[in-house]
Amino acid sequence: MLDLTWLLIAVPLASSLVLLLAGTRANPWGHWLGVIASGSTFVVGLGAFIQMLGLDAEERSHAVHLFSWIPGGELNLDAGLLVDPLSLTFVLLVSFVGTLIHVYSVAYMEHDPNRRIFFAYLNLFVAAMLLLVLADSFLLLFVGWEGVGLASYLLIGFWNQKPEYATAAKKAFVVNRVGDIGLIIAMGLMFASFGAVDFATVFAAAPEASTATLTATGLMLLLAATGKSAQFPLQSWLGDAMAGPTPVSALIHAATMVTAGVYLIVRSAPIFEGAPAAQTVVAAVGAFTLILGALIGLAKDDIKKALAASTMSQIGYMMLAAGLGPVGYAFAIFHLVTHGFFKAGMFLGAGSVMHGMQDQVDMRRFGALRTAMVTTWITFGLGWLAILGVPPFSGFWSKDKIIEAAFVGEGAQPWILGGAALIGAGLTAFYMSRLFFMTFHGKARWTDDQHPHESPALMTVPMIILAVGSAFLGLFLALGDRFSHWLEPVTGHVEHHEPVLPIPVIMTATLLLVALGVWGAWRKYGAADVPTTAPTASLATVAARNDMFQDSVNRGVFERPGTHLTRTLVYADAAVVDGAVDKQAEAWSRTGEVVRRAQNGQVRSYALTMLVGLVIVIFVVVQGVSKPCSRS
């Protein structure tokens, strides 16, 4: 089964091609083909997982050679897959959550005329994402990286008949390109210093490389990760990306693609090992983004954008953990998996709400939906408890570990990072509870033509499965540190570090802050009336509602100067470079006008010229030989 992992990429890719090429005749069955293709990847992944469980820990890394990709001189690169616990974790997450969301989409997109194309794009995404996590070299990873970027772009702009949706897709694409430059530069640095871009060679050579090289490579990898994972400073696209259909938001912009950055950091661990400075930057970016995302989440009234802000914040947690080094890698991935479940579940719940409320996304128009949508309420509630970190739900097991790990270290760093993580937990509790109470509790603030109803079984069943995962997966994986042991071949053995504060103190403080957040949210949004229009508020709230003015900052700092620079360059190009070339061409043209007269078109005249030249050449040669040539 391990050698069959190429099927993981080939099957959804083939299905995607079939769906795209078959045309409208595939409309009646196309979506089921998509579901089957996605489901088959889960079956293969599960088979590989079971087979790997049977191996010893040391043997849990399997290389699948596909073909010789770039056999060129100094760069000799084969396309191959690397199946180890880390990639297999992702395979299972992507294929399982992906399949559930495929099933959900069958019902959610039922009335869309382009449902077949939607499934083609979803399959393309699954193929690219699996290629990303299974690749055994940075270059092949980059192919998958671009593939998911493309699928994300296509799906955000799926309803591109609305100009603002198309713009959102373009924005996501462009911001992601900025991150991609980082990955390309990182690959260039690797090739320059190690002469290779495959994981095995690079990681084997990394410990001997200079700190400067590793720091530069690490920072460039971080830039790539911030682009893909919507971390500061490249976070601006994620909110707008909610323009895509809700299943897309659940699969790509919550559970899988946006976590690719975390995967990249964890996968490149050997590089970051040698670059403590880069590691600190990763942690700092993570901590900053988790607070930033939480603050934005506090103010958003659009349910999907609030969830997107929460995603940003949660990935901040993962980045923070990944930046802590070996202590945090396993927790980062652990949180990534649990987050994949509960956040996807909540997005599907939001989709279900929108489905019942005629695509309304303003939370101020919800309220009291718990009676109308019981299943959605319960499943969403389980996700809510999970993200809050209430024991014994999933989030508790993963997030609490990250907060504890953040407190490990010396000097001021643990206090800053740990404090940020702690405050973030409180903020998370507040804004997620706000979202939950505004949607499902309080008084009904529906518009007149809305008649909320529960969604069909095709949508609720995936939600229920994800809710079960949100509730119990964390406990299941955390018991006896199962998950950490599973990842040990990749992340290395973690010796226990004592945090600067005792663990019970941290845990108590976290739970207290969470309880405080929930209580505050209940007082303001559960028990009290919520106005249907956003009240005028302080400058801080306005800033948060506007995504902390990140678009304005981008425009002022990058776009305007960039435009001016480009204009100047264009002018300089036209005046100086083009001018020089044009004048030179003109001069030659004039010369040609003069010389042209020698061309009278008479063949015999040309022959005469040749002969005269020949005579001259012979004459010169003979004169050049001082003595008449003779062989003695």
Binding site: Q602, L611, V612, V615, I618, P628
Partner: protein, 255 residues
């Protein structure tokens, strides 16, 4: 060493006919003169100890190349007259001076050098050449093979005329003929009386008038026809008892 008499003979049959290139008017004469030059050169090769090359020279040049020239001459028409007046200014005298100068220059250089002649000339027998060709120069042979194939294909491509329209059938030819109002059927045959072979006698229509279209235009242009009336008159002449006797003189009579 070479027999001087033989050399002068060879020189004569190469240089003199080759001057035809400059002075002869008819292209066929020039081609034939060049054939003679080629034969002379073949003799020179044999004299210089290259019998194989001599034979090849005869076969290739006189047998193939020059015949090809004559074929092409036939295709483009032997009467392609050439105007010997020079059209390019100064071309004639500059060309002549340059060509003569080149010749004189080369001759002067060759006469100034002295190269000791090998005592024993090499044997240019076919087997010796063959060993050279297929041992030391085998790669060149292969390349020349490519060249010949390419040249053959190139000639085919250059001279190929694609059929632009489908071949016209007899039916179509006939329809077109009717459409333009030409004779729908064959023209009448000459010589209705069949008294002699009668190609020069026009047919007569039912009214007794001669049909001009029934005799060949060529005969008309050569004035070799006979008027129908006069012939009939002679036939009807009762004073001529034996008409067949007059056939040989009928032409003069018809005038």
């Amino acid at each position: 060493m070479v027999n001087p008499v033989l050399f002068w003979i060879i020189a004569a049959i190469t240089v003199i006919p080759s001057l035809a290139l400059l002075f002869a008017r008819k292209t066929v004469y020039i081609a034939m003169s060049i054939v003679l030059v080629m034969v002379g050169l073949a003799a020179a090769y044999v004299t210089l100890g290259a019998p194989f090359l001599g034979v090849v020279q005869i076969v290739v040049y006189t047998g193939a190349v020059m015949m090809l020239f004559v074929f092409v001459l036939m295709l483009v028409g032997v009467d392609q007259r050439e105007d010997l007046r020079e059209t390019i200014r100064n071309q004639r005298w500059i060309g002549l001076v340059t060509a003569l100068g080149l010749g004189a220059f080369l001759v002067s250089i060759v006469t100034r050098v002295s190269i000791p002649v090998a005592e024993e000339g090499v044997s240019g027998e076919p087997d010796v050449i063959a060993f050279m060709l297929f041992e030391r120069y085998v790669l060149v042979m292969e390349v020349l093979g490519f060249l010949l194939i390419t040249a053959a294909v190139g000639a085919l491509v250059l001279t190929h005329v694609p059929r632009l329209k489908p071949r016209r059938t007899q039916l179509e030819v006939q329809r077109d003929r009717v459409r333009v109002g030409a004779d729908p059927v064959n023209k009448p045959m000459p010589g209705v009386y069949a008294r002699h072979n009668a190609l020069d006698v026009p047919a007569l229509d039912p009214e007794g008038k001669p049909i001009e279209a029934s005799i060949s235009r060529v005969l008309e242009m050569r004035d070799q026809t006979q008027e129908g009336e006069s012939f009939r008159a002679t036939l009807d002449d009762p004073t001529r008892p034996d008409s067949s006797y007059r056939d040989s003189t009928s032409k003069e009579d018809g005038r």
